[in-house]
Amino acid sequence: MSAIAKSNAHSIVEASPRAKAIAGTIVILYAVISILPLLWIVATAFKSQSDAIAYPPKVFFQPTLEGYVNLFTMRTRQTPDFIAKLPPPTTWYDKLVRQHDMVIAGPSKVVPRFINSLIIGFGSTFLAVFLGTLAAYAFSRFRIPLADDLLFFILSTRMMPPVAVAIPIYLMYRQLNLTDTRLGMILLYTAVNVSLAVWLLKGFIDEIPREYEEAALVDGYTRLQALRKVVLPQAVTGIAATAIFCLIFSWNEYAFAVLLTSGEAQTMPPFIPFIIGEGGQDWPAVAAATTLFVMPIVLFTVLLRKHLLRGITFGAVRK
């Protein structure tokens, strides 16, 4: 009886209640630790300037949309006389701004920056996954001369921090007129991500039996058609997992974005820290920007989470 219980404790099928409790506690702790700052940011976005920097920090406060309004607008300070002479405010945000003796001078740069982030993030992710899939397929299925060396070389580009090559890349980009262009950033992030994509996807494609494609070949499909109809549908899990990893990298990338973009192609990460209000950082606006910034990744991950979970454990478990 006890022997059975013992063997169960070590079996991979069922963990003991104590092990489960410990694992559960660790997971909950970890979740709290990682979610708390996020919640704090979401809350800060709804605080007033003074509540945001109050000490001790305020957990309960009067919510306001000032942070969001400030994020999306540029404002100028006016004298109360001037404001009194203006026609009455037509919108709720005009009204909100005037309470602080300000008027809206125009939209801020946040929308174009966000669009840059979307285009560069998703563009480079698409390219990295697309190229990575083709390369991984070739490495997995064809006899390629020096395949192992090539694969190692591809991986080795990831062995140093990308910023180590910042200066050569900066010079190169200046020569090629790629600084501060979306195309330049897409190419750069694709180059960084493609190595990860090749390696991850090769693992997934290796697991798909060749017989599936061979059956299609015998039935008269070309190799490309077989890839599309047979391999890709079975690799969706891997492709989704890879896409998330690539997107997270290019979405969050800061160092190159600071170095290579300033106007036209600036993404959100270098933009957010420099949201300045009167007398320094506008923390509620920064928090609002951050909240909006993490949204797409959260959404993307939630949409693909089924694949992600399977994808992460996939290559690890061999039959």
């Binding site: 061979e214 299609a216 070949l217 015998v218 039935d219 008269g220 499909y221 079975q234």
Partner: protein
Amino acid sequence: MTDVVLRNISKRFGSVEAVRDLSLSVNDGEFVVLLGPSGAGKTTTLRLIAGLEQPDSGSVLIDGEDVTRDPPGTRDIAFVFQQYSLYPHLSVYDNLAFPLRSPARRVPERLIKKRVEQTAELLHVSSKLKNSATRLSGGEMQRVAIGRALVRDPAIYLMDEPLSSLDAKLRAELRLELKRIQIELGATILYVTHDQVEAMTMASRIGVIRDGKLLQLGSPREIYENPADSYVASRLGTPPINFLPAHLVPDVAMPDGTEMLGIRTEHLEIGKRNGGTLVGRVHRVEHLGEQNHVHLEYKGKMLVTLADPHQPVDAGEDVELRLKHPLYFDAAGRRIPAVIQ
């Protein structure tokens, strides 16, 4: 009139000679079974015919045309793989329709539907067409896998141990069905297996293959009755053939050069002692219901034969052995065809 001819095909993988100088022809409407143990080169042979491997030497002819260098898709072949035969991401219907939807074929969807439904009917999987391919029992999966080949009307069907993953009962069932379908369709099939029963029951001709060499090709009867050598003899028959060195039975007449006797159960009768010189001792009797396997020892050699259920023998009993036209093999294992009365 289509036939498939292999001419002196060889294929090696590194140091492994998977197929050696193999020649074989499959005639129109024929059901040829390649019988051999695992690693004999059966799968490789089929892959060479399909064009999934290129031979190192030799050629493949389909319908008189040399297709050795042609890609698989143009060879007009259907292949049932040993494993991984169904696409897990498609329904049963789409799996069956997949070969017909090949862009090279351009079959209208209406015809595809008809073909798929006919095939499903033939294989008794009509009710499963909407199922996901992963939601089938083993037997159903194998039927659908065979169906994926049968939806087409190719020059030849290549089948790689399609029944090997099934249990004995299903295997027996599908064996019969497959043979019925082959006759019904007049299909040309090259089927490989390691199962002698499948070979004996379905084949018009059997090819026995070992270590990449085709040892003998002939009708099941020929292979059984006139095996070319001791290995071929040992491939067929249950219980398997007994081998007895010739010097242990000095009193038995046999052709010159005989080193080994091959004794199938029908070559060996046992009875009460009656003054004969061949006496063995019964070690064990296995009761298998319809037949009894008798294990007996003769001069240190174990022999297995069938016993008449109505003439029971018991373990420990001495019995007299009578040999009736056994097979004779020379020192190299080749059979000496002479029959001595």
